[in-house]
């Protein structure tokens, strides 16, 4: 085999210089980056199912049989109070067949526990099992830095940039000529053909169909690695560049001053409300429903010695994409609304900043988008393999 001949093939007749150079770079960079891309895509598609696997592992605690009436939250408050326990936070899922998750602590020993409870029967289902956490931590570290710390992170970053180039140069190579047969070939896989033809079609056609998604996943991935990518994305969405954001200034900025006002109010509430009894959790849930009337998973953090307010996060999925958009509201111990931080009111760059992680992992729309991302990253995983086979056929 003549490797040099394969790596520096001659330009074909009627082949444009652009396509010729794209082809050579696609080959060279593909061979160079394939190992890293394989690892990143494989770990990405494994990590996509982290929550689903954890839920399956804890299925006896997480999933419950639905009944007509849910118990009031006061039932759990009273039940735990009898055991000398106090609720710290409570998560009420939107899905009626999931159990509520309550964090509580022993009033004397201050020991903290988190248990699942059946909202229909009140049964304490115990705590979950996090046996897969270590595995997923390793998968995540492999995905982010190949278990090589900062050096690995830079390697992954560079090769994801290369991958973006590969996707774009792949599009150039894929672009069919205006012949009916070639157009059909570009969009379909000929399953009845021989192995090498199927392999070629898998690379070519699946690469095309997954292009936009893989580009999006790659860009949201390098957004995490490179500040300059963050700047490009945030500025294009109307935000400030990173250097502007980190620039020190004399005195206190407006945003810090606003936050100071908020924190000073809280300091006063700590003193003013220390004697006030907390209103029942059911009232807080009612008030939350009044403020945020859509159905959604709700997390309530209860006030304590250091934090005078109920802090509520509700996930709004009532939008055309079904995307999980977090709204945050605070109530004081009297049930007076103190803060309303709705996702829809935030500027676009702020919204993107908050959603960059679930947009990258596929969790943004829950299980359907996780499955979609899994399939897309599986295709991403296959591309270096099918590409290598195409090259190998020519070399051997």
């Amino acid at each position: 085999m003549n490797v040099k001949k394969i790596l520096l093939r001659k330009r074909r007749k009627k082949e444009s210089l652009f396509k010729y150079i794209s082809g050579l770079l696609h080959l060279w960079l593909g061979l160079l980056s394939s190992l890293v891309i394989l690892v990143v895509c494989l770990t990405g598609c494994m990590y996509a199912f982290k929550n689903q696997i954890n839920d399956f592992q804890n299925r006896n605690q997480v999933f419950i049989e639905t009944k007509s009436e849910k118990l009031p939250l006061s039932y759990f408050e009273d039940k735990l109070k009898k055991e000398n326990q106090q609720i710290n936070s409570i998560l009420i899922p939107k899905n009626p067949s999931r159990s509520v998750v309550i964090s509580f602590f022993d009033i004397d020993s201050k020991n903290i526990q988190t248990h699942y409870f059946n909202p229909y029967t009140g049964e304490d289902l115990g705590s979950g099992n996090g046996n897969f956490d270590g595995f997923f931590n390793t998968v995540e570290a492999l995905h982010k830095n190949l278990l090589m710390g900062d050096v690995g992170k830079q390697i992954v970053g560079v090769f994801v940039l290369v991958f973006i180039f590969m996707l774009l140069s792949g599009l150039v190579l894929w672009w069919p000529k205006r012949k009916k047969k070639l157009v059909k070939q570009a969009f379909t896989i000929k399953w009845k053909a021989k192995f090498y033809r199927i392999n070629y079609d898998l690379h070519n056609t699946l690469g095309f169909y997954s292009l936009a998604f893989l580009l999006f996943i790659s860009v949201t991935g390098i957004y995490i690695t490179y500040p300059w990518v963050k700047t490009v994305v945030l500025v294009s969405l109307g935000g400030e560049s990173i250097s502007e954001q980190t620039q020190s200034q004399e005195g206190v900025s407006d945003s810090f001053a606003n936050l100071m006002d908020e924190m000073l109010k809280k300091e006063n509430e700590k003193i003013d409300q220390v004697a006030i009894k907390q209103i029942p959790l059911d009232s807080i849930l009612y008030l939350t429903q009044k403020e945020l009337s859509y159905p959604g998973t709700t997390t309530i953090l209860l006030p304590d010695e250091k934090e005078p307010r109920y802090r509520i996060q509700k996930i709004n999925t009532s939008n055309w994409l079904g995307a999980m958009l977090p709204d945050i509201i605070d109530f004081d111990r009297n049930g007076e609304l103190k803060r309303s931080d709705l996702f829809i009111n935030k500027p676009l760059h702020q919204q993107f900043k908050e959603l960059s992680n679930p947009l990258h992992t596929g969790e943004i729309m829950g299980t359907p988008s996780v499955i979609l991302y899994f399939l897309i990253t599986l295709i991403g995983f296959s591309l270096p393999i099918t590409g290598f086979v195409i090259w190998w056929k020519k070399v051997k």
């Binding site: 998750v101 988190t114 206190v252 999980m324």
Partner: protein, 205 residues
């Protein structure tokens, strides 16, 4: 067949190449700590049971804060984690000797993630040494809480980039200091600066 073999070999080399490197263990390495502590068998047994229990509590705490698409409230989460670590330390201290406890505290101080704020001890020292009045004390607490929230709110931007995190930390630290100093006298300012001069961003510590 030949191709299948090649593809398998190719993938195998990839996995070996990536896994063969020195792996940086995530989270606390309790095995290493146990070696440093040179525990006897009874202590080791208690240590294992206790750390396993607290590991479970921490996992549960994280799950409770993030499941079902919820976004992590970092201030609340790290505050709770701090409480859990304090509780664990108190229980472990009951069966360690003085030297072991010193080693344990040094290890934990080096390897656990601290809340980004003046801790309660420093806050108390500032209040006492500077003889802060009620209003000044409120500003101190409020500025410290505002700093913590601003810093954690920027997490999605500096995430995984320690230099960038340090830039954000310094920016908000300057604002925290400005806000606090705006209510202090000249003398108090000098003393305040002396007390907080060792406070650094996580990557500079």
């Amino acid at each position: 067949m030949k191709n299948t073999f090649l593809i398998t070999a190719f993938t195998g080399i990839l996995l070996l190449a990536s896994c063969g490197k020195e792996q940086k263990k995530r989270g606390l390495d309790y095995d290493k700590l146990k070696q440093e502590l040179a525990l006897n068998s009874e202590q080791a047994q208690k240590f294992d049971a206790l750390t396993a229990n607290y590991k479970q509590i921490m996992q549960e705490n994280k799950a409770a804060n993030t499941s079902e698409g919820g976004q992590l409230n970092r201030v609340a989460f790290f505050s709770k984690m701090e409480e859990i670590y304090q509780k664990q330390t108190a229980e472990i201290a009951s069966f360690l000797d003085e030297n072991q406890l010193k080693t344990y505290n040094a290890f934990m101080s080096k390897n656990t993630r601290k809340r980004q704020r003046y801790n309660d001890e420093l806050l108390a020292t500032i209040k006492t040494n500077l003889e802060l009045n009620e209003e000044q004390a409120k500003v101190l607490e409020a500025a410290n809480n505002a700093f913590e929230k601003e810093f954690y709110d920027a997490h999605d931007i500096y995430h995984g980039n320690s230099e960038l995190a340090a830039e954000y930390w310094r920016k908000y630290d300057n604002q925290r200091k400005s806000a606090i100093e705006s209510t202090l006298s000249e003398k108090q300012i000098m003393e305040f600066r002396e007390l907080v001069k060792k406070e650094k961003s996580p990557s500079e510590k």
